[in-house]
């Protein structure tokens, strides 16, 4: 009746996961109870859960990413503390638990923290920057989000029911095959990723369509903000790479469930095929994460330097160059499998070539700052911290792309330090920069600068204190994923990294305080202008938070920096553009399709993991019925009357008129003019 599921699945003998899982469960119940008792459920259902508004979905993605970041960080604390205690000692995590912790850390951080953060920020900002009302397929978008949430839920469910994979964040066979991992851990991993992966693929299709087909009038490709270009590149990569992941994991599932022999030790299977395929997805994935971050930094550095981005076309070319080359380098993840000199050299050089466009980007950011008037706000600090950190991470990256050097540090803590160097320094710093940059747009008030800056400096210091020792201990030959060790020379470095993670805990506390303090002091931090940073692209031209329809009238784009142009013209002529003729706006109706589909997918995934076949049938049937029901709908849109549009836009125009009145023409023009002589 319940397949492999018995009471044994609940780890009564392992206090750590039980208590952790129990606590999470209690918090979840408490939150749901609070929502229901306070009567927030209808609001939550109508305004968020069933919302197809790209801004709401973006916020929910970002929130999911931040919560999962917390979970992944707890895993990181466990890894570092176990290693700190495990010199000539067993530590406090036995291997079968420790192996789950590091597998979960990698899986959660990449798939359920970094990806949702980046997709969330793209969701929020791309349609606004393009000057349009929503993405191409709004209900698709909601479905994408809820399928990603399903994956995250399944991964976390493994804390209390059964166990998570012990076969690393990329489940290399034959270790992940049924013979060597007969427990449900790998199945949790596989089904969580298959379901979330479908969601990500839908996101890719959605955003490529949006960027290619739906832009404000006049917004040609070479007038798109660089963030939109990087979003386009990342989503093209998603479309090309995620099917590879799905197919590879499907083959492993066939091996595990139906006795196929794609990657097994017997029957002619070949595990090297898995390693090649998974990295054919895995390397582009790195750029799916970091390209949008590059876009965020481009926006942030230009805005806070008070200058347009330097070398815009060069940046676009570099982005698309990286997009292409990222598919030609996957073999550098396994130089030590013995492919031979020619193959290793070709892939090593291809990898190093990626450093060229990346280097160009760094130089262009540098020249954007050159001649600027830099305001060191929190987002700008993240961006500056990124440039320096990423250059170091890039250097160690090129270093491990030289095969003979890689032969000495492959799979060592040097490698671990390298990819944390680029993923924390690149993706995570980018996410924090993006969150602090666009937060006032999403909620109408800024985040607290003091706590934000404290979080930045502690993150930067904590990052170096944690990972510089890992570089060093990697050069001393310490490999990754060790549960215990007995080499005395490694110990001081491992302890130093343990200190670093404590500093990072401080950074995390500041981040949480930043949100709490900002929400409590929101009236103080309120931004009524909709343009708190003196921005340059279209998202700052609308109100904060923007109305559901984003723009009362789609803006007419006449240059690379449309909003800057609008502001300059308003100052020069001392008047806003004439009030437009407001028309009713058609917007897509909210739909619970995504949520209900994801509900049935959760049931299907859980049932597949535990081999509860009747429940699999039920879940699939439910998901199909939802799809048919959605396809049969006859009312797709609702109309926002012209009066409502006019009212919202007039309020915005009043604020802009105030802004105009406060800025003297000559003064403003002088402040933004080229200074020919040093003042």
């Amino acid at each position: 009746m319940l397949g492999k599921l018995t009471l044994n699945a609940i780890p009564f003998d392992q206090p750590i996961p039980l208590i952790a899982g129990g606590l999470v469960f209690l918090v979840l119940i408490a939150v749901i109870a609070w929502v229901v008792i306070r009567g927030h459920l209808p609001y939550l259902w109508h305004e968020w859960i069933t919302s197809v508004d790209h801004k709401r979905i973006g916020v929910m993605y970002t929130l999911l990413g931040l919560v999962m970041l917390l979970r992944g960080f707890i895993d990181a604390i466990m890894i570092r503390s176990q290693q700190a205690l495990a010199f000539h000692a067993p530590g406090y995590l036995p291997p079968e638990h420790y192996d789950q912790v590091f597998s979960a850390h990698g899986t959660i951080m990449i798939f359920f923290a970094a990806m949702p953060l980046m997709i969330g920020l793209m969701n929020f900002a791309v349609p606004l920057q393009l000057g349009v009302r929503d993405v191409a397929f709004p209900t698709f978008n909601s479905t994408s989000f809820w399928l990603t949430a399903t994956g995250a839920l399944l991964v976390n469910l493994s804390l209390v029911i059964g166990e998570f994979s012990r076969a690393m964040w990329l489940p290399y066979p034959p270790l992940s095959e049924y013979r060597y991992s007969p427990d449900v851990g790998v199945d949790y991993y596989l089904w969580a990723l298959q379901i979330a992966g479908v969601g990500t693929l839908l996101t890719g299709i959605n955003f490529v369509t949006t960027i290619l087909k739906i832009r404000a009038p006049g917004m040609s490709y070479l007038r798109m903000p660089v963030f939109c270009w990087t979003a386009l590149a990342a989503n093209l990569l998603i479309i090309a790479a995620f099917p590879v992941l799905t197919a590879t994991l499907a083959m492993l599932l066939l091996d595990r469930y139906l006795g196929f022999h794609f990657f097994t030790n017997s029957g002619g299977g070949n595990m090297m095929m898995f390693v090649n395929l998974i990295w054919a997805w895995g390397h582009p994935e790195v750029y799916i994460l970091v390209l949008p971050a590059f876009g965020i930094f481009s926006e942030v550095i230009a805005t806070f330097s008070g200058k347009p981005l330097f070398g815009y076309r060069s940046m676009v070319a570099a982005t698309m160059g990286i997009c292409l080359i990222s598919f030609l380098v996957w073999l550098h993840h396994f130089f030590t499998m013995g492919a031979g000199g020619d193959v290793n050299a070709v892939f090593g050089i291809a990898t190093a070539i990626i450093a060229v466009p990346t280097g160009v980007k760094i130089f262009n950011w540098m020249f954007t700052m050159y001649g600027g008037r830099i305001r060191f706000t929190t987002p700008m600090l993240w961006a500056l911290g990124f440039t320096v950190t990423f250059v170091i991470g890039g250097m160690t990256g090129v270093l491990v792309s030289v095969p003979p050097a890689d032969f000495m540090v492959h799979n060592s803590l040097f490698l671990v330090a390298h990819f944390h160097n680029v993923i924390i320094g690149g993706v995570l710093f980018g996410a924090f920069a993006g969150v602090t940059y666009w937060f006032p747009k999403a909620f109408g008030f800024r985040l607290h600068e003091g706590w934000g800056k404290a979080a930045f400096w502690l993150s930067l210091a904590g990052f170096y204190i944690t990972f510089v020792p890992l570089y060093a201990v990697g050069l001393l030959g310490m490999t990754r994923r060790l549960q215990t060790y007995d080499v005395a020379e490694w110990r001081p470095w491992v302890l130093a990294a343990g200190v670093g993670i404590l500093v990072l805990c401080g950074a995390l506390a500041c981040q949480i305080m930043q949100f709490i303090v900002s929400i409590r002091q929101r009236e103080l931090l309120r931004d009524l202008t909709g343009d708190p940073w003196n921005g340059r692209s279209l998202e700052w031209s609308t109100a904060s938070p923007p109305p559901a329809f984003n723009f009362a009238v789609l803006p007419n784009v006449e240059g690379e920096e449309p909003y800057w142009e609008i502001k300059r013209r308003a100052i020069e002529t001392q008047q806003l553009t004439a009030e437009p003729d407001y028309k009713p706006i058609e917007m897509p109706r909210n739909s619970p399709t995504g949520f209900i589909t994801a509900f049935f997918c959760t049931i299907t995934g859980f049932a597949l993991i535990w081999h509860i076949w009747w429940m699999v049938g039920l879940g699939l049937f439910g998901a199909y019925v939802v799809f048919v029901w959605f396809a049969w709908r006859d009312r797709e849109e609702h109309v926002i009357p012209a009066e409502d549009v006019a009212e919202a836009d007039r309020a915005r125009r009043r604020v802009r008129a105030q802004w105009l009145a406060q800025n003297e023409r000559e003064e403003w023009l002088a402040a933004h003019a080229e200074v020919s002589e040093p003042a």
């Binding site: 000199g341 600027g372 008037r373 170091i392 200074v675």
Partner: protein, 316 residues
């Protein structure tokens, strides 16, 4: 006699050069602040390790030429053009410069071309399958390496002995390793001797290493292979040619177990933290049988039971 003295001098010189470069690194990259460390990849004890380390340090040196000024430039420009600095010139129209574009594209390109040459040559010269050029009169020692759950088996086909979790080799003689895995993937890695290489079931990889002087070197697996992975380390004991022959003779005459098919099946089962031991006799055909999958792969943890909480047998 003379040549060995010259060798020793060369060795010292190359070691000193490494030291100097790593001193420079101390300034450039805090990560390399390894002072008098023992046992790392920057303290190689053999020709392969030394060549790899040299390439590693050369690559860092080449890249530092561009990376260090870039970091300094970023910080300096970021600070100088702060809004509160009234002496900095505001130039909002400085958004494109063809000359700068050419420079920013060509500098990284030139560095990468240079590094690409290093990569091409290094990848071929230091391919693990390529034998070590040696003027030693002794032919290379052959060792067959098999990774099991969770220990290392070393078979000496010419000497017909075998050992577990301890590898004894003659110093100054190249060692030709043939490697495979009895179950899951591992990586054979002796940091101070040089390159690591994967071991995979049904496949054979090769590796050439050499220890220049007698000594004890730490070896381990660099590829996570399951719950007993942390215990998969071994000691490489490089001894003089005479001592090696003594060790072989003593092992052959010892009363240790025999490594035949039955002995192999005993070893195949999962076990953790295995203390080193030797086999006084070993079947040299075993290795080929494993590579060709004529022998079954490791059984894994408890076949047939598939509930949650599967734990390896024979480990804590």
């Amino acid at each position: 006699m003379e040549s060995s003295a010259a060798d020793a001098r060369d060795n010292i010189r190359s070691r000193c050069r490494l030291r100097t470069v790593s001193r420079v690194l101390v300034v450039l990259v805090p990560a390399a602040a390894l002072g008098g460390c023992a046992g790392g990849v920057l303290q190689p004890k053999g020709p392969i390790g030394a060549a790899n380390a040299k390439i590693l340090l050369d690559a860092v040196g080449i890249m530092s030429v561009i990376v260090v000024p870039t970091i300094v430039g970023l910080v300096a420009i970021g600070w100088w053009f702060r809004a509160s600095n009234t002496r900095a010139r505001y130039q909002p129209r400085f958004v494109y410069s063809g000359r700068l574009e050419i420079i920013v594209w060509s500098i990284p390109l030139l560095v990468i071309m240079f590094l690409g040459g290093l990569t091409w040559i290094g990848s071929h010269e230091l391919d693990p399958f390529v034998p070590i050029a040696s003027n030693a009169k002794d032919p290379p020692l052959e060792v067959q390496v098999i990774s099991l759950d969770w220990k290392w088996l070393f078979i000496y086909p010419q000497q017909r002995v075998a050992s577990v979790n301890e590898l004894v080799i003659p110093a100054g003689t190249p060692v030709h390793f043939f490697l495979t895995s009895a179950s899951v993937m591992n990586q054979f890695f002796v940091p101070q001797l040089g390159s690591m290489i994967a071991t995979m079931n049904g496949m054979q990889t090769q590796l050439h290493l050499q220890a220049d002087r007698p000594g004890s070197y730490y070896g381990l697996s660099a590829q996570f292979s399951g719950d007993g992975f942390s215990g998969m380390h071994f000691t490489v004991r490089a001894v003089s040619q005479d001592d090696f022959e003594h060790w072989v003779a003593a092992t052959q005459q010892s009363g240790g177990p025999v490594l035949d098919r039955n002995g192999y099946f005993d070893l195949l089962r999962e076990s953790c933290d295995v203390k080193p031991f030797t086999y006084h006799s070993a079947d040299p055909a075993l290795f080929a049988a494993i590579v060709k999958r004529n022998l079954p792969p490791g059984p894994g943890p408890y076949v047939g039971r598939a509930g949650p909480g599967v734990r390896p047998i024979g480990c804590g």
